[in-house]
């Protein structure tokens, strides 16, 4: 019994030892597997993981360049960069985003829109520990509220960034345009590298036209960061190259004068420096504040602008296409003279209407009883329609249209004004192609008083007036004067100078246009009062609704928006013109009383502003 139990114990111990030996071998094998695995990672794959670890540690962080500033011709700042503070959140460091937002809401106002935008940004792909903006444009009180409570808000921070600001706001936007946040479509178009740190891009106007020059070159910083994205040290830095500063021909004083004079009207003013073609004024009324667009305009504010019946977003100066009306007459007069169909001495007897042979239709003068005996000078001063019907009929469209084209009508001749429209200069071919009708003599009569098919933008009218004032010398209209201190280097499209058979025709035309203001029956004689400089101009009206044959135009009966548009073109001083201008006042009716004074005010500011 004892021996048996002893043998059992021996057997038990032997059994255990054999199992223990087996286990030892097994454990040794597993240890070899572990050691082998580690050795594999550390020897065979060492380089790969070495690189990975370096990539973890070292980051290239792009540094956005500072956007170039924009000045007017007198050095007034039109577009600057100001620090803006944003509330940011690091997702990885926030336990409960809803709770954090709820707490933030007790400190500062976070609108539904802010939250909606934030959630959208949160979803888009990004690297860990990258801050996501919760709310833009914090004011000082909001910054203080957040900073004081930062202890309770892990992962929340306030970040400063330079953001575009337009100090002149409404008065400059129709020339400058604005920058806005880069959208997905633009992101595909833009250079990924250059824009890696940039959040805004020029959307409209000059900001868009000179985007690449204003933007500058991105810089880089090689930094060591920890997993939370905190920078521990800067290893290497390539500074960004700031965008070039832009000086415009634009004169902000004139923009303000135009805005002031346009008060309450819908319309536009374009003024051009006769000697260079530089755009001095490009203003459209009503206007809007571009600063709302920079950090994202609210849906409500935007639809308010869109649905406004006065169309503040509509840039009338370059996209409003109106019949030029009688403002076309100086150019038509020169066309007649060139075609030898009239001379300065020729006179007609105006009874208040004109009739074509074999046509029942009466082509009426704006003055029912007629102007009596008129020559070209009188016809210009009094804007006699009958004279121009007759002369246009005899000159024919085939001579008129090509001559008008020399002044840039019918195409967009601007150098750096994006989105400018080209108006419409009709001729036989155009009518056949677009209207599938042949050109009638009546069409020529309408063209003879700037009505019918012809359309011009205020920009085109001002350009043509500038060419007229320069006695045919063509200067392509342009906004940019210098970029980074240098004048325009790219090629500028141009038109040939206009040479008249008799150069004295220019002076005679100037005289007749001066008479529009100074003459006893001048249509803009109201401007003569307190006029301290010499000025030549031409009024015009553009019909909004056509009046039937025997009906009379009755402004009282017409709704305000159906009244005629008032136009005025002018240049000054007459002896040595330096500024040319075109003004349109929608539904302004009397050009001499609405559009004229606006042109006068702007020119006065330009010529005499410095003296006070």
């Amino acid at each position: 019994m004892w021996g048996n139990s002893f043998r059992d114990r021996m057997a038990e111990e032997r059994l255990f030892r054999s199992r223990a030996i087996f286990m030892t071998i097994f454990i040794f094998a597993l240890l070899c597997v572990l050691g082998g695995r580690i050795a594999f990672l550390q020897i065979v794959e060492h380089q790969k993981y070495q690189d990975l670890s370096e990539n973890n540690r070292i980051q290239l962080r792009p540094i956005p360049p500072t956007r170039g500033l924009i000045y007017d011709r007198n050095g007034i700042l039109l577009a600057e960069n100001v620090p803006s503070y944003s509330l940011t959140l690091v997702k990885e460091r926030v336990d409960d985003i809803d709770e954090t937002l709820a707490y933030l809401r007790t400190l500062i106002d976070i609108t539904e829109r802010d939250e909606e935008q934030f959630r959208k940004r949160l979803k888009s792909s990004r690297r860990p520990y990258e801050p996501v903006v919760v709310k833009y444009k914090l004011d000082e009180e909001q910054i203080a509220q957040v900073m004081v409570n930062r202890f309770y808000l892990p992962g929340i921070d306030v970040e400063a960034r330079l953001v575009r600001h337009y100090p002149e706001a409404e008065t400059s936007v129709h020339a400058l345009g604005y920058v806005g946040r880069i959208n997905e479509k633009e992101a595909q178009r833009l250079d990924k590298k250059q824009y890696s740190a940039t959040k805004h891009v020029g959307k409209l106007g000059i900001e868009r036209r000179y985007e690449s020059e204003l933007h500058g070159q991105v810089g880089y910083q090689k930094v060591e960061t920890n997993a939370r994205g905190r920078i521990l040290q800067v290893i290497e830095q390539v500074d960004p190259i700031p965008g070039k500063d832009l000086v415009l021909h634009l004169d902000q004083r004139l923009q303000q004068a135009a805005a002031k004079a346009m008060n309450g009207y819908r319309g536009a003013v374009v003024a051009i420096d006769v000697a260079t073609g530089g755009v001095l004024t490009q203003y459209s009324n009503p206007s809007y504040d571009p600063n709302s667009f920079v950090t994202g305009i609210s849906h409500k504010e935007y639809s308010g602008l869109r649905n406004n019946p006065d169309l503040p977003l509509f840039n009338r100066a370059i996209r409003g296409q109106y019949p030029p009306g009688s403002t076309l007459k100086p150019f038509l007069g020169l066309a007649f003279l060139e075609a030898n169909t009239v001379t300065w001495q020729d006179e007609i007897e105006d009874e208040g209407w004109y009739q074509l042979e074999n046509d029942e239709r009466f082509y009426r003068d704006w003055k029912r009883k007629g102007h009596g005996k008129v020559d070209l000078h009188d016809a210009m001063m009094e804007s006699c329609d009958t004279y121009f019907y007759d002369a246009a009929f005899r000159t024919t469209v085939d001579k008129i249209s090509p001559f008008l084209a020399k002044f840039g009508f019918g195409r967009n001749m601007t150098h750096d004004v994006p989105n400018a429209l080209s108006g419409l200069l009709p001729d036989r071919e155009w009518k056949k192609k677009k209207r599938r009708r042949s050109w009638y003599a009546g069409d020529t009569l309408n063209l003879g008083i700037g009505q019918g098919f012809m359309l011009t933008t205020p920009m085109q009218l001002a350009t043509a007036t500038a060419a007229l004032a320069a006695k045919g010398e063509w200067h392509t209209p342009r906004l940019m004067e210098t970029l980074g201190g240098k004048a325009i280097e790219e090629e500028v499209k141009s038109l040939d100078n206009i040479v008249l058979k008799d150069p004295t025709d220019w002076d005679k035309m100037f005289k007749s246009m001066e008479a529009v203001i100074t003459g006893p029956r001048g249509t803009a004689r109201a401007l003569r009062r307190n006029l301290t400089f010499t000025m030549a101009g031409k009024t015009g009206t553009a019909q909004v609704v056509s009046i039937a044959q025997h009906e009379e135009y009755d402004s009282e009966a017409l709704a305000e928006r159906n009244r005629d548009h008032a136009l005025f073109v002018a240049f000054a001083p007459v002896e040595n013109p330096s500024i040319a201008i075109a003004v349109i006042v929608e539904n302004g009716e009397s050009a001499g009383r609405t559009a004229g004074p606006i042109a006068k005010a702007v020119m006065q500011e330009y010529l005499l502003g410095a003296q006070g």
Binding site: D8, R37, L41, Q42, R228
Partner: protein, 381 residues
């Protein structure tokens, strides 16, 4: 006591010097000196790594030192308790453990999506599964020792049921990793008791066959995610794959010699998550390289060898079975932890024994070594 007789016998022999003399001195207090020293070496290196892994946090190192202190005290106490007391305690510890596990399921506190903690007023919060890590091998060893070795099939079947009860309860928490490890510690007792090879192989094949079924019927979403991440960590590099990518990067970038102590960019710049707990080996591998890893593996190997040797020369069957199971389980922890950090195994929450930060695991592991020393140094009655 039997133990003291044993040591007095030895001291009354020829004169001894140095190591042998201190070995005898320690033996008087039922301490196995080689094992004790190896453990000290391991814990000492653990503190060094922890200092680096915690971002040079003295406070954490001090706390861990306190954990070690408590652990070694428990070890000393556990070593003094004679084996027969453990034999008596075995069923009770098991019963308490099972009750506590049921308690967790009924009124436990949840953390990280699983219920593991039991908060009893007046006691520190603890995980009953930690208690089970000791109680289950204790019970199974006691049971098998009373039945003799090699065991009969029926005895094995009954032992399996005893193993299955806590296993299912822990699985319910749910804690797949711990339940497998605890189940393994029970099976290991059966293995050392002489479970027939054919049974071992058929069990292994059944488990292998059942693995796909586990996927559909047992595993929770987060467990499936871990397995998926293991199979392809790059599928979600910023989410659940982040940990394993970063730990492999840390290990691989360390190279043979390492980046130097406190110089690991992965750990010092906080790219490596859980660097002071489950992923601490990656810190060692990054900073001290392959040399450091092999040294640590050697220490572990020596501890396991010494443990197995102590088990083999243990006078009682109970002691042999218990010690064998405890020491191999200890090794399995090492293997699973390093395997998971180096991307060989899926990520399961297993700390690196005696090196990872954490009081409960340090104390229960050292307690286990105390029990082993008791088994080894007390003479069989």
């Amino acid at each position: 006591m039997a133990g003291t007789d044993f040591s007095r016998q030895m001291t009354s022999g020829e004169s001894h010097h140095g190591f042998e003399r201190s070995q005898l001195l320690f033996a008087r207090f039922h301490i196995d000196l080689p094992l004790f020293l190896l453990l000290l070496v391991l814990c000492g290196s653990g503190l060094l790594i922890l200092y680096s892994a915690s971002g040079q946090g003295w406070a954490m190192v001090q706390k861990q030192a306190v954990h070690y202190l408590i652990g070694f005290s428990v070890l000393l106490v556990a070593a003094q308790i004679p084996p027969r007391i453990y034999q008596i305690l075995a069923p009770w510890a098991y019963a308490v453990g099972v009750l506590a596990l049921i308690g967790v399921l009924v009124l436990g506190v949840s953390g990280k999506g699983a219920q593991r903690w039991l908060a009893i007023p007046g006691l520190p919060r603890f995980q009953p599964s930690e208690l089970m890590k000791l109680a289950l091998p204790l019970l199974v060893a006691w049971y098998m020792a009373t039945k003799g070795s090699p065991p009969k099939l029926f005895t094995l079947a009954k032992a399996m049921i005893l193993i299955a009860i806590p296993l299912v309860l822990i699985l319910k928490q749910p804690d797949l990793g711990t339940s497998i490890l605890i189940g393994t510690s029970g099976i290991l007792v059966l293995f050392f008791a002489g479970m027939p090879w054919w049974l071992i192989f058929s069990m292994v094949s059944i488990v292998a066959a059942c693995a796909p079924l586990m996927w559909f019927f047992v595993m929770h979403a987060y467990q499936k995610q871990r397995v998926l991440t293991f199979l392809n960590p790059e599928s979600d590099p910023l989410g659940s794959g982040w940990n394993i990518i970063q730990s492999k990067t840390a290990i691989g970038s360390g190279g043979i010699e390492g980046k130097g102590w406190l110089q690991g960019t992965q750990s010092q710049l906080e790219f490596l998550p859980e660097s002071h707990t489950d992923f601490i080996i990656a810190v060692l591998a990054e900073e001290l390289g392959l040399i450091g890893v092999l040294l640590l593996l050697t220490v572990y190997f020596l501890i396991v060898m010494r443990g197995l040797y102590m088990a083999a020369i243990c006078p009682s069957l109970f002691g042999r079975l218990l010690s064998g199971s405890l020491i191999v389980t200890f090794f399995i922890y090492v293997f699973v932890n390093i395997g998971m950090v180096s991307g060989l195994l899926p990520v399961v929450g297993v700390p690196l024994p005696l090196v990872s930060w954490g009081g409960t695991s340090v104390v229960s592991l050292l307690a286990g070594f105390g029990v082993m020393m008791s088994m080894h140094t007390h003479k069989h009655k």
